[in-house]
Symmetry: C2
Subunit: 232 residues, 2 copies
């Protein structure tokens, strides 16, 4: 049976943080924690009696700062990050096809899904896909900064993520419309940006979004490359 | 293994709605859906490919209107409500000790937990407790209106809910501080209102909260007694 993760939301940056844990066990992984939610996240770990083993990042975020470094200090967890995101302090530098192990035989598959950033990874655990800012519910991450590429994102989603089983649950890195979870089957058929759209059309679409520059990018990216800790 | 529910949040009334579903099956129950989130909730059911069988209410809410009636019309689900809450249109009138069945042998235990209202129920599914407005994370529901009773709430929580296994996960009806989930073990030891407090002290505490009257009570309670549908 595939347990849902525990989904936590940051109202300030509309970021989802996830706690992965097989109910009945203490072993846990946290995905994409946010700095100002450190106390909230530690409280959940305490209330559920969990042993945090790994702090997992999908990419070097431009819109919020991670609490990975502090969580690591306070819990003894290891930090695991995409090797291509320039986050040298992390113990585990992940590459496409790697398998992360935790707890009693639990495994997380690492899928390199460049496009939002060149290093972005998605993670698959027991039928649950943590898609970061690559594939969102009825949308996708932007591709116009920080080594982004519309071409790469199209290939990552259509060539890798959309080939997963249709019932795979998608837990995105953000949502701005109150949505929480979707499936590969639904997004493959209905995603407003990626379903039934040619690569050429997608590139034109993405290159004409004219989005504002993220307010926190100049602070967040350098901070996240140090796991959210001050540069010493 | 005990799967977590899918937890959805209403930012307007800070209400949690839950979708109960064993991943890998289509059968689902929704708990405490909110009227203005009808489209969001239907979208989740569609994206996950679920077959909604039961709409379950913990009580007749005073702070928001249910979408139970509309969900029932649109999906064919049955409405299940506490028998003591005066909601006559619901097919299933639940009493303490009842067992609700859905899907392939799934069962939900019905626990009468009066106190927030005289009819309030909590529901237990696979180690997950849906505690409505009876037991909240580090708190409890108010007891000063709509047949509420501090005495009854104390007895419900300490005499019934706190006797469940410590690892039981608590999924409350509301949270106002960004918390999502707790456990019986944690609340039994640490709940600010109920842990290590005598019945007498609790009654004094609750009777002196001096909370404002809920803004929507005169609209919401009559509406919820008709499953959120207009009175014909």
């Amino acid at each position: 049976m595939n347990p849902n993760p525990i989904q936590l939301f940051d109202t300030e940056s509309s970021t989802f943080t996830y706690i992965l844990n097989v109910p009945g066990t203490k072993d846990a992984v946290i995905v994409d924690p946010v700095d100002h939610n450190l106390d909230r996240d530690l409280a959940h770990i305490a209330r559920l009696g969990l042993h945090l083993q790994i702090v997992l990042e999908t990419h070097a975020h431009a819109d919020h700062v991670t609490s990975a470094g502090k969580l690591r200090e306070l819990t003894g967890a290891k930090a695991a990050v995409p090797s291509g995101c320039g986050i040298p302090p992390a113990e585990m530098q992940l590459n496409d096809g790697d398998v992360i192990s935790f707890g009693d035989g639990e495994t997380i598959q690492v899928i390199h899904t460049p496009g939002h950033t060149a290093g972005s990874m998605s993670y698959l655990w027991r039928g649950n896909l943590f898609s970061g800012d690559t594939l969102l519910i009825d949308g996708c991450g932007r591709t116009d900064f920080q080594s982004g590429s519309a071409e790469a994102l199209y290939d990552s989603v259509t060539g890798k993520l959309f080939t997963l089983p249709g019932a795979t649950r998608i837990w995105p890195g953000h949502d701005y419309k109150g949505q929480s979870v979707s499936t590969i089957g639904w997004e493959r058929e209905h995603n407003a940006r990626l379903a039934n759209r040619s690569r050429e059309d997608f590139i034109v679409l993405m290159n004409n979004l004219n989005l504002p520059r993220p307010r926190l990018i100049d602070v967040a990216v350098p901070a996240n490359r140090n796991l959210g800790l001050p540069h010493g």
